[in-house]
């Protein structure tokens, strides 16, 4: 049990795996981008403009303004998560890429860490493009928004690591439905992306406080609209700590799974 919680020995060679994933991605990136960005852009337009017309101001801003920061962040969450669930599972089980790579000087720790770094990169790509889209809508009105890319990195790394930990338990493709439907989707809806959490029943607010995305969404709003507060440092710490924890745990869990 102890060996699940220790710090794994990852070397710089994990970058080789990141390069491999990048090279494979570059061959199909148009398709992949569509998959990652179609949803958040649709939400932004449909909900922001469509639903927004029927809503009054929310927390002193238009509905479009209200949901934009959260959609940037959640697009990172989904892109990183899909990469380190379906993507990594495919490479590990069906393509046996992991097996092939650990016959080279790379260790299994390097391989898993490299895949997590790649998942993080996918999250960064999606988040950055969404950030640009939101900017193009003229929704960014604070210098503090320069902090958003850092937040995107943090969120992507957290969800890449969390998803990899989930993947280490999954036996079939279908089993990811549990992770997505019971974890990611509720997180998406109950972390304050679409509605403020303070006027909901107590149990919902308490529940949402347990979701890491909640802090990320609050930070993103604070930065984009230039109202930084204690939530920025505290929330970041609340994202970084589980990210590092799950990074270590997921590498160790994957090692236990692959090496028999």
């Amino acid at each position: 049990m102890n060996d699940i919680f220790r710090i794994p020995s990852v070397s710089w060679r994990c970058l080789r795996v990141w390069q491999r994933d990048r090279d494979a991605y570059m061959k199909f990136f148009k398709l992949s981008l569509l998959g990652n960005l179609g949803d958040p852009i649709l939400y932004l337009v449909a909900m922001g403009y469509g639903l927004g017309r029927f809503l009054n101001q929310m927390e002193g801003m238009s509905y479009l303004e209200f949901i934009a920061p959260g959609l940037v962040i959640s697009s990172s969450m989904f892109a990183a998560s899909f990469e380190c669930t379906y993507g990594s599972f495919l490479r590990m089980i069906y393509m046996k890429t992991y097996d092939a790579i650990i016959a080279t000087p790379l260790s299994i720790e390097d391989v898993v860490a490299g895949d997590i770094l790649w998942g993080t990169t996918k999250g960064m790509i999606s988040g950055t493009i969404m950030f640009a889209v939101v900017g193009a809508f003229g929704l960014i009105d604070s210098f503090w928004a320069v902090g958003i890319p850092l937040l995107i990195v943090l969120v992507s790394f957290l969800f890449a690591s969390l998803s990899m930990a989930a993947t280490s338990f999954v036996k079939t493709f279908e089993a990811f439905n549990y992770y997505i439907t019971l974890f990611l989707t509720p997180m998406f809806f109950f972390s304050g992306v679409f509605f403020p959490l303070n006027r909901l029943p107590d149990w919902v607010s308490v529940f949402s406080k347990l979701l890491p995305l909640t802090y990320a969404v609050e930070i993103s709003r604070a930065l984009i609209y230039g109202k930084p507060s204690w939530i920025v440092p505290v929330g970041s710490a609340l994202l970084l700590a589980p990210a590092l924890f799950f990074f270590c745990v997921s590498v160790n869990l994957m090692k236990r799974r692959v090496i028999q």
């Binding site: 491999r20 393509m95 046996k96 650990i102 016959a103 080279t104 000087p105 260790s107 090496i259 028999q260």
Partner: protein
């Protein structure tokens, strides 16, 4: 001469199951060493320990003078692996597979391109350079896995059933290529259930069964010592065995009955075949086959079972 692989009491257990049961073997620089055994004998489990994929449960394993438990990375730098299952990168083309693999070994890009070109030529894959892996035939995939295993110019090549499932032509092409590597000084360890493959490629073999090595030596030596030079297979009903044995009692031959066949093992240097066939003509048999002894016979003699399940 220092052995390149030294295994002592090498053991692999999966829970209750002992896949490799305390085996010893030594492999030298020029060796083409074969592990021969039926399904589940423990061949793959053994190979996987050799490149640190699978941690050994007990024993000692030194490769190129290094301990696998402490120096896996340095050992893997000098090994090429052809695993039992093709694990090519299906996201990439033939050439990309080689280049990306070269990068895992930190081979500079220019050098990697040169080696990839040479290896594609060597394995007759140039025409497929830009093909995706799914577009390759089984034999081509296997050749690509082999090319990939050679990208780091390994001192030791590990081959887990390199030609299983291939047609005779594809198999012969791979055998040729493997033989031509001998002159380059690469040592080779392969597993197979085909005695022909072992005979074609190996100067030493270890016969494995149920996780143990039950015999080692050069194929010819082992066959001569434990089987004989030639074999006479006699398909007769078991009731006639006694009669046959009486007829040939004066020749002092080893015999054995498996299934529908009575096997007579003929030692080297005696022209017994003629005598035997003459004497046995009179006994009612459906078929009589006279042939050279093979590793298959050795396995049969050692375990009482056939090597290749059909």
């Amino acid at each position: 001469m220092q052995p390149i692989i030294l295994a002592k009491n090498l053991t692999k257990r999966f829970g209750e199951l002992t896949a490799v049961d305390s085996i010893d073997f030594t492999i030298h620089e020029q060796d083409y060493f074969g592990f021969l055994g039926p399904n589940g004998a423990g061949k793959t489990s053994t190979i996987r320990m050799l490149y640190g994929f699978s941690p050994m449960t007990a024993g000692q394993l030194k490769i190129l003078g290094l301990d696998i438990r402490t120096a896996a990375r340095r050992i893997k730098e000098q090994i090429g692996v052809v695993s039992q299952e093709n694990n090519l990168d299906t996201d990439l083309t033939v050439l990309e597979n080689l280049l990306v693999y070269a990068r895992y070994f930190d081979i500079p890009r220019q050098e990697a391109r040169r080696r990839a070109g040479d290896l594609m030529a060597f394995m007759q894959l140039q025409a497929k350079e830009k093909s995706r892996v799914e577009q390759l035939s089984g034999g081509m995939k296997r050749r690509l896995v082999l090319a990939r295993a050679l990208i780091n110019k390994p001192k030791i090549l590990l081959l887990d059933e390199p030609t299983t499932g291939l047609d005779p032509q594809a198999r012969h092409l791979i055998w040729q290529r493997l033989r031509s590597l001998k002159s380059g000084g690469t040592a080779m360890i392969l597993t197979t259930h085909y005695m022909e493959e072992a005979a074609q490629l190996c100067n030493r073999v270890a016969v494995m069964d149920a996780g143990r090595i039950i015999a080692t030596g050069t194929p010819q030596e082992m066959i001569r010592e434990r089987v004989g030079a030639e074999v006479l297979e006699l398909r007769i009903t078991p009731e006639l065995d006694a009669q046959v044995l009486r007829t040939i009692a004066d020749l002092d031959l080893e015999t054995e009955r498996y299934g529908d066949t009575l096997y007579l093992y003929l030692p080297e240097g005696h022209a017994l075949a003629k005598v035997l066939t003459d004497r046995l003509m009179g006994i009612n048999h459906s078929e009589m086959i006279h042939r050279q002894a093979t590793l298959e016979d050795l396995f049969l003699r050692l375990t009482g079972r056939e090597l290749v399940e059909t």
